[in-house]
């Protein structure tokens, strides 16, 4: 049993990023929302379904985003930290997106930092790499999880 699905976001957790510790810190700017451009989401063709093979362009975007956001903890080959390589749990797209959104235990929660398109690209990349073969996750799947 995993309890990730129900994990609430530690929303206040992210104020630190902007330099604001608390309401008490002086002259601190308000936290910025995640970039809301549609660049990555627009890469997903309308006819693509969850589990379909992932178009190369999305894989490439997903790999770049994985390197920037996940490599520190899961390694460049998905074999470090808690291994993502040959990980049968990734078959469940909702388990994967739920984990990325909420960040259980020592993992970062990304809900406030990555938009649906970016999370979908990362999830599609992870599900198509290192012996995993579970195909695409759509921006809509991520939106459904939020």
């Amino acid at each position: 049993m995993r309890i990730i699905q129900a994990l609430p976001l530690l929303a206040g957790a992210f104020s630190v990023l902007s330099g604001a510790g608390t309401a008490l810190s002086q002259d601190a700017p308000a936290p910025q929302p995640p970039a809301a451009d549609v660049g990555v989401a627009a890469m997903f063709p309308a006819e693509l379904a969850t589990g379909d093979p992932v178009p190369a362009e999305i894989l490439e975007a997903g790999e770049g985003l994985f390197r920037a956001n996940c490599r520190q903890c899961h390694g460049s080959r998905g074999t470090a930290g808690v291994p993502l390589k040959e990980n049968a749990k990734l078959e469940d797209a909702y388990y994967l997106t739920g984990t990325i959104l909420t960040g259980p235990g020592y993992m970062t929660g990304f809900a406030e930092h990555l938009d649906d398109g970016r999370i979908a690209a990362i999830a599609s990349f992870v599900r198509s790499s290192w012996g995993n073969d579970y195909g695409a996750v759509l921006p809509q799947d991520v939106a459904d999880m939020r």
């Binding site: 995993r2 390694g75 291994p83 993992m107 930092h113």
Partner: protein, 590 residues
């Protein structure tokens, strides 16, 4: 006596400084005029009024001999001043930080001067009576650093200097009067997962420190430096290299990435000239990936500050598979016996859920007895002679299998310090019970600077957790019996302060309350709700005949992680307010 500013310097600074300069924390805002030098004698025998080290005394007792605040008058405590520790630095050029920054440092007090550290690399010196800042030191952290435990646990004092460790694994010395940096030494390369959060320990002119990184496959160590010059004197690894004693407890190359972090300040036996350090978990988390006892992880080691030699050790549990870091050093207790002799003890509440009473006579740790202080289902028993546990195999992680165990990785107690009242032979400690964990182990590869775990950490509160998870316990070390226990529905992450006024002060709960209890009965005598949760140690000090209690709010890191699992299980929402403020209390002046 409250310290005066050096004439003119503050005025000059105020005229020239911008807010930006303040955010950047230009040091030497104002020089402390009549700073009291910290001598070896003062550290060994601190004045009642002062709190010169994280646990006040070298033995780690965390107890104040001050008696102005009593059971009778504690109800009148009022806030004298509060001081925000912000503004803070941006911690990481990374889209999301894995944890909220936490304040876990005690205010260190030297004759009316207060020192506080912040998780983002700042050190603040202020007037302990008025709260006015003398100076603020700021260290810029490197880009790309992703701190999984953004926190700092305080300064160490020696002479006219102070010492602090940093998230990029440096040990730096500052001029205590001005906040100007005197020297800067690299403990290890942060890019390989080393980072530092502990307050250093200074003994006989040697500053000692180590690093965190048990989750990154580091090889832990304690390193000694000349307090004056910063010259490295020795570096003693917590994991022996092939050929050294204990190396047979590590198969193959596993010793190179075996963890054994040092992230809580050691205690020091002045008589034996021996520093007791707690060594954390082995890496990766799964014992099956490094079969053997894995010395000296999850142990206490006794190090000679002059040479760095490990003179004694005691391992609480071998081949750890539960992330039960045993980083808190034992409290050193000299217990008067019935026939006038003195029992030299090292008493330790282990994260694994058992209390250990050890003999430290002659600088050698020997097991006397042990017993659980919270429910634990991993040990079948301890060997009555050696204290070595026998395991219930069903609670030991196995590859490809999900294994449950109690308590969870956060243990019966985590790092928050206990206190000890020598007059009543009583230890006061914050514990968490009614939570269990699980690990599902997988093979994992080491990659420098990347997490090296082999499993996630789950935590599930048990049914009894609906009644309470956190508690404050009082134990008589003579009888090893519990005197009383106060339960909190919330977890308790509060380091404890006891005072000779018969009081026990603790925060630690998610309701951001700071409370005082009757040390004899556990009755709550006073409380106040603050601006954030408290996981920093409260301290007590005296200036000009007035006793103060100081504590800093600043919830974050593992308090948040633990709460995330509880909220998930119980369908609760909401954050603990983060705080970030030093609060100082005293009795009203008549």
């Amino acid at each position: 006596m409250s310290k005066g500013y050096v004439n003119g310097r503050l005025a000059a600074w105020l005229a020239s400084a911008s807010v930006a300069a303040m955010v950047l924390g230009q040091p030497a805002l104002a020089e402390i005029a009549d700073y009291s030098e910290v001598t070896p004698e003062r550290l060994a025998q601190p004045e009642d009024a002062n709190w010169l080290q994280t646990r006040r005394t070298y033995d780690g007792q965390g107890h104040s001999p001050l008696t102005q605040i009593t059971k009778e008058n504690v109800g009148q405590l009022t806030e004298v001043f509060s001081h925000a520790t912000g503004p803070y630095n941006t911690l990481a050029e990374f889209s999301a930080l894995p944890a909220r920054g936490a304040h876990q440092a005690p205010t260190i007090i030297n004759d009316g001067v207060m020192f506080m550290t912040v998780y983002d690399g700042q050190v603040i010196a202020l007037d302990a009576v008025t709260g006015e800042e003398y100076w603020r030191f700021n260290r810029e952290l490197p880009q790309g650093l992703v701190p999984v435990h953004p926190t700092n646990r305080g300064v160490a004092l020696w002479g006219d200097k102070l010492y602090v460790t940093t998230l990029d694994a440096h040990l730096i010395a500052l001029d205590a009067k001005t906040g100007e940096q005197v020297w800067d030494q690299t403990l290890e390369n942060w890019e390989n997962g080393y980072y530092s959060t502990l307050a250093p320990l200074v003994a006989d002119g040697v500053v000692m420190a180590g690093t965190s990184g048990g989750e990154f496959g580091i090889r832990g160590f304690v390193q000694g430096f000349d307090a004056e010059t910063g010259e490295s004197l020795w570096k003693t690894y917590t994991i022996p290299a092939p050929g050294e004693p204990g190396s047979e407890s590590w198969p193959g190359e596993t010793w190179k990435t075996g963890g054994g972090p040092i992230w809580i300040t050691g205690n020091y036996d002045v008589e034996e000239k021996l520093a007791y350090w707690g060594v954390g978990n082995a890496a990766p988390w799964i014992g099956a990936l490094r079969p053997g006892d894995n010395l000296y992880t999850t142990s206490t080691i006794g190090i000679d500050p002059a040479s760095g030699e490990i003179r004694t050790h005691f391992q609480y549990h071998w081949n750890d598979s539960w992330d039960w870091d045993e980083v808190v050093p034992p409290t050193l207790i000299d217990l008067p016996g019935e026939n006038g002799e003195t029992e030299k003890l090292a008493v330790r509440f282990a994260r694994n859920g058992w209390i250990y009473k050890l003999d430290r006579e002659g600088g050698e740790l020997k097991f006397i007895e042990g017993k659980p202080y919270v429910y634990q289902n991993v040990f079948k028993s301890l060997d009555p002679v050696t204290g070595r546990p026998e395991y219930n195999e069903e609670a030991v992680a196995k590859l490809g299998e999900r294994v449950e165990f109690c308590p969870s990785a956060w243990g019966g107690r985590d790092w928050p310090a206990e206190s000890y009242d020598p007059a009543t032979h009583t230890v006061f400690i914050s514990v968490n019970e009614n939570h269990c964990g699980a690990m599902e182990a997988a093979e994992v590869e080491y990659e420098p600077g990347v997490l090296y775990l082999g499993s996630g950490l789950e935590m599930t509160p048990t049914e009894a957790a609906r009644d309470h998870i956190g508690a404050l316990q009082a134990w008589d070390v003579r009888t090893m019996e519990k005197k009383w226990q106060v339960n909190f529905k919330s977890p308790n992450w509060g380091p404890v302060l006891s005072t000779a006024g018969g009081l026990v002060f603790v925060g630690g709960t998610t309701d951001s309350m700071f409370r005082a209890f009757d040390a004899e009965t556990g009755d709550e005598l006073w409380s106040v709700t603050l601006d954030g949760g408290i996981i920093a140690p409260p301290v007590s000090y005296e200036v000009d005949g007035r006793q103060y209690i100081s504590v800093t709010t600043g919830w974050g890191v593992d308090g948040d992680r633990f709460q995330g699992f509880i909220n998930a299980a119980f369908g609760d929402e909401g954050d603990v307010p983060q705080g970030g403020t030093i609060h100082v209390f005293a009795l009203p002046q008549t």
